[in-house]
């Protein structure tokens, strides 16, 4: 029986280093099944509920694909519209109802802490698929898998996180996990969108040094991973200021001229203008692969939690 059986995955902080490594190794074994080369019945007879109070295409579809590839079934809803939720049902009640229909629950909710609340009201394992500006641990695992798969390890890797580091939830969890795993972190953002001190404190506690920079040119040369996120217009009161800032964090061919050969460029997608399209054709671009990796990673998690033992 795996250490994961029946467990909740609410925050990346709930997972130890060994837990993360187990998920990543399991995910790698899932790839042939994820692409349809091999067949699996590991989760035959199991039912997963996907409860989405907020629209999400990628996360929901990758969970559904993961469950189907392992022979299990999925039920649920993809928006609160037309459900008992609209009639004013509490999340606690909805979860107790859903629990009766399934073996595990995947929850996406617009409010922070929703997954933690859900887990308190059911014995069934709960997987957080994003709670407001809070946690989104399966996205973090997918990002970690991509780095590990492309770069071979975490330790000593120079990982540069670029963009909105203040409000972007994916970069907070990722920075936290990478510090646990021993990567060197560089944070590149406009001064008004810097990484929160709480995360910086954690990195320091791990005994790791980090760099804070405002320009990309200075850090791209020794980077192994460039993780790019979107800077949202709403963060800037002045549209011209936004254009200027967004422009200075755009990844273009010129910038990559002096980069290491093995540099990988990542993005949680959807991108707007953060990465120039001609970068897509370079060996650096791994963001579409990163998107695909969501399936084997979620397969691994489901298999470990629901105990298929594929």
């Amino acid at each position: 029986m795996s250490a994961f059986q029946g467990r909740d995955v609410l925050s990346i902080r709930d997972l130890s280093r060994a837990d993360i490594q187990l998920v990543l190794r399991t995910a790698r074994k899932m790839v042939p099944i994820a692409v349809g080369e091999k067949r699996s019945r590991a989760l035959e007879g199991k039912i997963l509920s996907t409860i989405f109070y907020e629209p999400s295409t990628r996360t929901r579809l990758s969970f559904e694909s993961a469950m189907a590839r392992l022979g299990g079934r999925v039920l649920g809803f993809s928006s609160a519209e037309g459900t008992s939720v609209q009639k004013g049902e509490t999340l606690a009640d909805t979860i107790r109802m859903v629990e009766a229909y399934s073996d595990a629950i995947v929850l996406r909710h617009p409010q922070e802490g929703a997954a933690r609340l859900a887990a308190d009201f059911t014995e069934k394992p709960v997987i957080n698929a994003g709670d407001g500006a809070g946690q989104h641990p399966t996205q973090t695992l997918q990002d970690l898998y991509t780095i590990w798969d492309e770069r071979g390890s975490f330790e000593g890797q120079n990982v540069v996180l670029v963009g909105d580091l203040k409000y972007g939830r994916t970069v907070h969890s990722l920075a936290y996990a990478l510090a646990e795993l021993g990567s060197h972190l560089t944070f590149v953002s406009p001064p008004t969108l810097e990484m929160p001190t709480e995360i910086l404190e954690h990195v320091k506690e791990r005994g790791l040094s980090f760099r804070i920079a405002h320009g990309l040119e200075e850090v791209v040369r020794d980077a192994d991973v460039l993780y790019v996120t979107r800077i949202q217009k709403e963060r800037f009161p002045d549209p011209q200021e936004y254009e200027k800032v967004a422009g200075s964090y755009r990844i273009e061919m010129d910038l990559l001229r002096d980069a290491k050969r093995g540099l990988i460029v990542m993005h949680p997608l959807p991108r707007v203008t953060e990465i120039a399209p001609d970068v897509d054709r370079t060996k650096h671009a791994v963001y579409f692969k990163q998107a695909f990796n969501g399936v084997p990673v979620r397969m691994a998690l489901l298999d470990l939690i629901l105990g298929g033992g594929a």
Binding site: S11, P110, Q111, E112, G113, R116, L117, A133
Partner: protein, 151 residues
């Protein structure tokens, strides 16, 4: 020898050894201000052997509920709560700061699930006791202004 800065009370509660300056916050916790039905005496900046300076709050004809004592522990763990009956100290409670503050603080994050209609009590995990730092169990955010968020 008994030091009595203010007139003795017959029955009630004396909250002693409050860190100097926090008496008004203790009054807030006790809900004193809106609908008081008995006499409340506050002594502020009183010399204290143990603390240098301290505040004292005396409430006549009222004994505190456990939840009120928990709230005081949160902001003034050094305080002692003395129950006065017939002019004498009948009970003396030393406060202990709990590891979790349940149902006594409101999360400052308006988008936290603990702030909507759900059948749960707000829960904060005490991350550090000195200085006091608490983190919401649900949204993981640290509560900056603890006193302002006492329920």
């Amino acid at each position: 020898m008994r030091e009595l800065r203010v007139t003795p009370i017959k029955n009630g509660t004396v909250i002693d050894h409050i860190p100097a300056g926090l008496a008004l916050k203790v009054l807030k916790i006790l809900g004193i201000g809106d609908s008081v039905t008995s006499t409340v005496t506050v002594a502020m900046h009183v010399p204290s052997q143990a603390m240098g300076w301290k505040d004292i709050v005396k409430v006549e004809d009222r004994e505190l509920a456990a939840r009120e004592i928990d709230k005081i522990a949160l902001i003034a763990p050094s305080a002692t709560v003395n129950v006065i009956r017939n002019y004498n100290v009948a009970e003396k409670r030393h406060l202990t700061l709990p590891d979790r503050a349940i149902g006594i603080l409101r999360c400052a994050n308006p988008n936290c699930i603990s702030n909507v209609r759900e059948p749960i009590e707000s829960t904060f995990v005490v991350r550090s006791k000195n200085p006091l730092r608490v983190v919401c169990k649900y949204c993981d955010r640290e509560l900056e202004d603890i006193v302002a968020h006492i329920l």
